[in-house]
Amino acid sequence: MTKAITVSGLHKSFGRTHALDGLDLEIEAGEVHGFLGPNGAGKSTTIRVLLGLLRADSGAAQVLGRDPWADAVAVHRRIAYVPGDVTLWRNLSGGEVIDLYGRLRGGLDPRRRSELIERFELDPTHKGRTYSKGNRQKVALVAAFASDVDLLILDEPTSGLDPLMEEVFQRCVEEERDRGRTILLSSHILSEVEELCDRVSIIRKGRTVETGSLAELRHLTRTSVSAELAGPPNGLARLPGVHDLDVQGRRVRLQVDTDKLNDVLRSLSETGVRSLTSTPPTLEELFLRHYQNETAETAQTDETDEVAR
């Protein structure tokens, strides 16, 4: 498989803020790649570097095998981009803007354009200012999905869409994947990411902290186990990788690092198991762990700062 996007060691500062601090990102051609991170983690900055709108201070980025800064135009011919907040021209109709965006890329498939306008229930004759937030997003989405491109870069594309339209959006992304297009999807809607993405990257403070398929990522996190045992549990607390152990007589609840699950199950079955439920971590839990780590760290740094002062 070839890479659609490779980024390594990307740095970008705005004055004293380090927006990107050695970010790495690899996206295979033909995959849907989720791009996650808390607000201000550097997602949009990364995307703007990938679009050649910002120039990286250091590090390498390649989009579709080219340098996004030097070969911006050539790269853009094969890219469709949807920003999280679409601004339109007051005196241009939605239809005009869709066609303009299409022509500024590799071109527009007119059949797919009309089909998408229908599916997204968009009235293309309205002028820019009269569209609601969701409808402005639809204008950019229709233009992106109808464009003849290889890579779609979607930066929180569904903000403002209703659940029905969210459904249409997800269907469209699946169709794009089936056609072999690559999609970079930055989103805060975790169910959307879980549903659509082959692999995800989680970034924090301008750095990639996790990357891989959801299955791989799950493996790195904790599974919750609750069991009713035949007798009092024995030696669970001493096992490596066990957290938040809560024993109420014969009932046991605990969290365990997924790669240590086997030891826990062995220990439980030695005592005898009456009932057992085991829940794999949701993406949300996985994600919250990184978010919370950050808040904890921030709190800690704040404290250190206080002490230092």
């Binding site: 709108l53 005196n91 109709s93 005009e96």
Partner: protein, 539 residues
């Protein structure tokens, strides 16, 4: 329920309708905070223009005899009355009010209309108003705050004028200062109506400015038609009221009532409309557009975005050419008899015959105004970038240079077009010397382009400071307009690219400075584009 819990409801019930104005105080303070640079600069420039007049008039018409002479000639000179207005007394104060009244009033009107549109329709169009209005803000509070901000600007201007001209007569200064401020408020309230009608702030500014232009033309037509005071046409124009206030010449205070009535009536209409209108909507609804577009390139988009304003500017320049052309003969007659005035026009326009000098100075003024066009057109790039609309375009297969080139072609080509149309306007209005005047108009173009090039450089280098280009245009305008009358040292005059142009028609054509300016314009724009290509896009 306790008394404390009841209190807010009781207060609401008591104040009733006045909740429409809730939050006005906060909004006004916020507006003045946002305008803390803009209002003082506009007011200071206007006051400076007015207060510099007595000195420059002393140098032109120093003796009582010279002033009496001027008065006599104005009686028979319709062109000059059209350009400046009638003069009612030969005191220095009266001459000041005559010479600068219409222009100071018009400038106050521009300031006021910009302030009002900025705090009303601009806010709604950008969507910022929505969040503000979701607070404890009455339906009519934003409009009130905008009008009050304009009132603050106009009152400050009046205060400066009254204080500065009090030496010429306290009552006259009071009448003149109040009159200028009143013109400002008439157009503030006119803008208040227009912003209810259209959803576009740009269009609201354009429409109100067109009303101001009409007021100027009405006054000019009325004054040229009658050599004793004013004709009916003059009385239709707020600028005509200002001259009929007769500051420093037996003030007619009752004219202030006309202003008050106009302000009250327009404010009432604006308030009635504002109270019946949905936030963000307007009384002239936006029509639906085509379902399919033909725009296929960044250049086509740029033209689509700018064509309206190019059309507006073109019409204005052509008409100005026709009007100035029509009054050329008369104005030249008047100036011919006054040595100092002749010298002034010579300094502005050149050494040869007085008609040519007049033509040259008028063409020069149009060149200065074209500099404003070129800056506004170049700064469209800045507007597109900071609004986020440039981002998806540049994410398409469009290089930055090609994107910028679309807008810059319109900016630079448009400037040339405007000067060409001025020349054609003169051809229609004056019907003589068509070739030389056309040439004189086109000679301005390189200087206009230098200002445009500076704007491109500022935009390319410091996107956040791009609006400083307005400061450049303002400085060039001030140097070109007031500089010659004030005996400003040559080094200052040389700062303006317009100072280096050959004085045409009449003077000899000099290719050297014209070519230097052309090269400079290209170099500035080129440096700006290079910087644009190398920098980050702001978001």
């Amino acid at each position: 329920m306790t008394a404390a819990a009841l209190a807010p409801e009781a207060r609401d019930a008591r104040t009733g309708g006045s909740r429409q104005l809730a939050g006005t105080g906060i909004l006004l303070r916020f507006a003045l905070r946002r305008d803390r640079v803009m209002i003082p600069v506009w007011v200071a420039v206007n006051a400076l223009m007015v207060l510099s007049m007595p000195k420059s008039l002393t140098s032109l018409y120093g003796t009582a005899a010279a002033r009496a002479d001027l008065l006599r000639q104005l009686d028979t000179n319709a062109s000059l009355r059209a350009l400046i207005g009638p003069v009612f007394d030969d005191s220095l104060g009266a001459l000041t009010a005559w010479r600068i009244g219409s222009y100071a009033g018009a400038l106050a009107a521009v300031t006021s209309l910009l302030v009002v549109v900025r705090h009303t329709r601009d806010e709604e169009e950008s969507g910022r108003q929505e969040l503000v209005s979701s607070g404890m803000v009455g339906r009519r509070a934003p409009l009130t705050a905008g009008l009050l901000a304009a009132l603050v600007a106009d009152a400050a201007l009046a205060l400066l004028v009254v204080a500065g001209l009090a030496g010429q007569g306290v009552l006259g200064a009071l009448a003149f200062g109040l009159g200028i401020a009143c013109v400002g408020m008439v157009f503030a309230t006119a803008a208040a109506i227009v912003v209810q009608l259209t959803e576009s702030a740009r269009l609201a500014r354009g429409l109100t400015a067109a009303v101001l232009g009409a007021a100027f033309v009405l006054r000019a037509a009325g004054d040229s038609a009658s050599n004793h005071g004013s004709s009916v046409l003059t009385w239709l124009s707020p600028l005509g009221w200002l001259e009929n206030l007769r500051a420093f010449a037996g003030e007619r205070w009752w004219v202030l009532l006309l202003f008050a009535a106009a302000v009250a009536a327009q404010a009432a209409v604006a308030y009635a409309l504002a109270g019946r209108r949905d936030t963000g909507m307007s009384f002239l609804p936006t029509r639906p557009g085509p379902a399919r577009g033909r725009l296929g390139s960044a250049a086509a988009l740029a033209w689509r975005l700018q064509r309206g304003s190019v059309l507006g500017w073109s019409t204005g320049f052509f008409l100005a050419g026709v009007v100035y052309g029509g009054m050329t003969d008369g104005a030249a007659d008047l100036v011919r008899d006054n040595k100092q005035a002749r010298d002034l026009f010579a300094r502005m326009g050149g050494q040869s015959g007085i008609t040519d000098a007049f033509l040259a100075s008028m063409v020069g003024i149009m060149g200065l105004v074209a500099a404003l066009y070129v800056v506004s057109s170049v700064l469209r790039l800045y507007g597109e970038e900071t609004s986020g609309r440039a981002e998806p375009v540049l994410a398409g297969a469009v290089g930055r240079l090609r994107w910028a080139a679309g807008h810059l072609t319109i900016a630079f080509g448009g400037a040339a077009l405007l000067m060409l149309l001025t020349g054609l306007g003169f051809a229609v209005g004056y019907r003589k010397e068509v070739g030389p005047i056309l040439g004189a108009c086109l000679v301005q173009v390189p200087a206009v382009w230098v200002v445009g090039g500076l704007a491109v450089l500022l935009y390319g280098l410091l996107p956040r400071g791009a609006t400083a280009a307005w400061g450049v245009a303002g400085a060039v305008l001030l140097i070109g307009w007031v500089g010659p009358a004030l005996d400003v040292p040559q080094t200052v005059l040389d700062l303006s690219p317009f100072g280096h142009l050959p004085k045409l028609p009449g003077g000899p054509m000099e290719w050297g400075p014209v070519l230097v300016l052309l090269v400079l314009a290209v170099a500035l724009a080129g440096a700006g584009l290079t910087a644009l290509r190398r920098r980050d896009l702001t978001t």
